[in-house]
Symmetry: C2
Subunit: 280 residues, 2 copies
């Protein structure tokens, strides 16, 4: 399962190469057309050339790629399985809508799987991995001055990738990848960036790194990573409420507590939901 997706995700750069070199066998070397279509569409979704709601018409995309509709259709169904596009029978596909609730559940899911992956990955991290992560976090801190949201987001992913990349459970690692892919697709939302959150984020990164270096308890680390993500989500929701007070996300909440790690405690600073073994 993850095999396919991961493999496909790496083909992006081959898209342009194949596109117009219609003649040679070199084009068809390696990647299948459905893989090509997959990379082509995903790339466009993630960099917002296809923004949420954009209709993905089989024939059009097939024409652009110089292939038939069959592989394009397959690519779209795969993207649907990943949640990047929505699909309706006999109607067609469109890029998944970026409503706040979607962002909320995606971040919540990511907090869960990424938290676990980070904790499970930690014991396998070499000290040089920690150093690498710290270096990235330094660049994050530095970028706070001449603040560039795009660069920040990218560095942020790089940082966390180092933390969870040694996760020994491939299923969960795959879920983490998918979560980040969805976030990239929803970037609009992410970029209604919460002012000030970036600085806190860097500080929390440092704290997580400390936990890893001390070989802290796995649950403690899991919840530190989980809460780090949930804090970003909460900041976003709070910012959302402040900005659009009327149509606030007050409908049916997605989670019982304010967002939340199930304990519901994390959003009150100082009463971290983590186990607090150290405080004694």
């Amino acid at each position: 399962m993850e095999g396919t997706v991961r493999e496909m995700a790496t083909v992006s750069s081959a898209v342009a190469a194949v596109r117009d070199s219609r003649d040679s066998a070199a084009a068809s070397a390696g990647v299948s057309k459905s893989t090509l279509a997959y990379a082509y569409i995903k790339e466009r979704i993630e960099d917002s050339r296809y923004s949420p709601g954009y209709r993905l018409v089989l024939g059009t995309i097939a024409g652009e790629l110089g292939v038939s509709v069959v592989p394009v259709r397959e690519a779209i169904r795969l993207l649907e399985a990943e949640g990047l596009v929505q699909f309706e029978r006999n109607v067609g596909a469109q890029v998944a809508m970026a409503d706040p609730r979607e962002y909320e559940v995606t971040m919540q899911t990511l907090s869960l799987v990424e938290g676990w992956a980070t904790a499970a990955s930690a014991p396998f991290m070499a000290s040089e991995d920690v150093a690498r992560a710290r270096a990235i976090n330094d660049r994050l801190a530095e970028s706070l001055h001449h603040f560039d949201p795009v660069a920040f987001t990218r560095l942020n992913l790089d940082f966390h990738s180092v933390l969870f990349e040694h996760c020994p459970n491939p299923h969960i690692l795959d879920l983490v990848d998918r979560g980040w892919a969805r976030l990239r697709a929803l970037r609009e939302s992410t970029f209604s960036f919460v002012p000030g959150r970036a600085k806190e984020s860097v500080a929390e990164h440092a704290r997580i790194l400390d936990l890893i270096e001390r070989s802290a308890d796995a649950v403690e680390l899991e919840f530190a990573a989980r809460n780090h993500r949930l804090a970003t989500l909460d900041a976003f929701l709070a910012h959302e409420r402040a900005t659009h007070p009327a149509k606030a996300v007050s409908g049916r909440r997605v989670s019982p507590a304010p967002t939340a790690v199930p304990s519901g405690g994390h959003s009150r600073p100082g009463s971290k939901t983590t186990v607090d073994k150290e405080s004694a």
Copy 2:
């Protein structure tokens, strides 16, 4: 995303209906052929008519269903995305192999998402839901005498379904569904049933229900549910080691700790990894 899968999962019974009524429009009413093929194949994987390693040949299945290969192919790719089948380019698909490691990572993943889903679902459970769950657990206890692994497994899913069905995060709920689907596919393994584990399982169910009734802390509940599943996994692995001592699953372990909730504490009974707020 979950829309498709969930919808498709309910079509199973329509398979037989459509199969030979080749004539009428009534057949094609509603379900698409790819949906049909999806249900047809999944049904056979889950009831082990297609056992692990079975080769899924497009033309053969298409012939059995009286459709062309195109929808069959699509169904297989979807099943691949769910991890039920393995796929190789230009070679074909086969039912995913049921090695112990696959079982291990699947159970681990399920422990994570089901634990969260259970905790998040609890606040939305009506007292009648709890009563329903307790009734199912009573039947589980009863079934311990004239022990039937198939019936037990089914009741076990029913029980847990009641616990997590109100989970407000559809993504995570979908992941739970997929986890259980994979387990069904791996049933061989599951049925190298660990003697004695069933009784413990029933007792743990009762404890979880108590936590829910007392509106216990969400983290405590999450870890109770998580550890419940991990305990089953550990029992299986221990049993595995005892049965096949030589080729024991000692290669590269999938998880740092004995299996485990990241804390690594759950396997030592009495030092439950949960927060233990109540113990004070």
